[in-house]
């Protein structure tokens, strides 16, 4: 109950500080592996930003932007996971990556496992730097109990 009140208060008395400080920004990446002991090499961005959005897709996104909003939510979970390592945030990212893999590959998951990691991008001087903040254990690509 106390936790719920803690979550509710920022909505009833919002701070309204949008983008005041541009903090290091998370990217979620995953790698497919055959063996759960593998570290993995070919990491790929789980939700790559599209190169370009055609005007018709932009118009549709005004009404239906579920995929992008989920991508932003995964970034939020990544930030929360680094600030306060809770299983919920790990689970949220894991399940959404798994759902994406299922959409892409169907039920025929090869390789059988995946890991995900969180990269934080920031500016250092005039250059962008990428820091690995978290690497997950290996998870099954198909797990009916965790979908």
């Amino acid at each position: 109950m106390l936790n719920l009140i803690k979550l509710l208060l920022p909505a009833l008395f919002p701070s309204w500080r949008f983008f005041d400080v541009i903090a290091p920004s998370p990217r979620v990446e995953h790698v497919l592996i055959d063996d759960p002991k593998d570290e993995g090499e070919n990491w790929q961005e789980s939700r790559p930003t599209p190169q370009y959005i055609v005007p018709l897709d932009c118009f549709k996104a005004f009404f239906w932007n579920a995929g992008w909003n989920e991508t932003l939510y995964m970034s939020t979970c990544a930030e929360r996971l680094v600030q306060n390592p809770m299983e919920l945030n790990r689970r949220e990212i894991r399940r959404r990556i798994r759902a994406g893999l299922l959409r892409k590959n169907g039920d025929h998951a090869t390789p059988r496992y995946f890991r995900f990691r969180l990269i934080f991008v920031s500016r250092q001087g005039g250059m962008l730097r990428r820091d690995i903040a978290f690497v997950s254990p290996a998870y099954l690509c198909i797990d009916p109990l965790d979908q």
């Binding site: 979550l7 909505a11 919002p14 983008f19 005041d20 541009i22 920004s25 939510y73 962008l128």
Partner: protein, 231 residues
């Protein structure tokens, strides 16, 4: 506009925003679908105007379940404002008199005004915002640009510095729009353009729907206060 009419208009616009949000979750993970199906049903009921006071309370309970499910807002500020609006509408219906309804609805209008002003203030006190560097960083490495083509805007520092100041000035000066009705309509037109631009650049579609739903509270408050009449 009477407070009752403004509340009703807010309910209709908020319902549309909630329906839009809920539909986006229909194909989401199984344990979130149920909450949004309930929200979809309640939002449709709220549009119909049947038992609005109880529907608002039910929407508030539903919003608490969603808040607990995601351990915070799913979609940042748009979820926070949705929840604040649902809370204020629920509370307004419970108030014993029209005057108390006005206080509650006025609180919503005040918070929407703050959503611009405080946001502008928190930017103007940051050197990186005043120089345009903060917006450069938003485009260069934040997760928000909706496409890689939009990310290349980071290479236009002068444009971004001008955009930073345009945003800061709009947000800081927004409360002045309350002076006259036509000034407020102009302010809301700029606000709408601002939200649409945020949608185009960063994909924040839900913010447009939710903030527009809060506009009737501002129109009502301006008419209620009518600052020019004080002079």
């Amino acid at each position: 506009m009477s407070v009752e009419a403004a509340i009703r208009l807010t309910e209709i616009l908020l319902s549309i925003a909630l329906i839009q949000q809920s539909l986006e979750h229909i194909f989401g993970l199984p344990d979130e679908r149920g909450h949004y199906l309930v929200r979809l049903f309640l939002a449709a009921l709220l549009i119909s105007g049947i038992q609005s006071q109880w529907v608002c309370v039910a929407l508030f309970v539903n919003a608490l379940f969603i808040l607990k499910r995601f351990q915070g807002p799913y979609n940042g500020g748009s979820d926070l404002l949705s929840l604040l609006m649902i809370f204020c509408l629920s509370l307004a219906h419970m108030m014993p008199s029209s005057l108390w309804q006005e206080y509650v609805f006025g609180y919503l209008a005040l918070q929407v005004t703050f959503s611009y002003f405080k946001s502008g203030w928190s930017k103007v006190i940051q050197r990186d915002w005043r120089s345009g560097r903060a917006l450069e960083d938003v485009f260069a490495f934040s997760a928000y640009p909706a496409s890689e083509v939009i990310r290349t805007w980071a290479a236009w520092p002068r444009l971004l510095c001008a955009m930073s100041w345009a945003v800061i000035l709009f947000e800081l000066l927004f409360p002045l729009a309350f002076i006259t009705r036509s000034a407020l309509i102009a302010g809301l037109t700029i606000a709408l353009s601002f939200h649409v631009a945020n949608f185009y650049l960063f994909g924040f579609n839900r913010f447009v729907w939710v903030w527009v739903a809060a506009f009737p509270s501002l129109l009502w408050l301006q008419a209620r206060l009518n600052p020019l009449a004080w002079i």
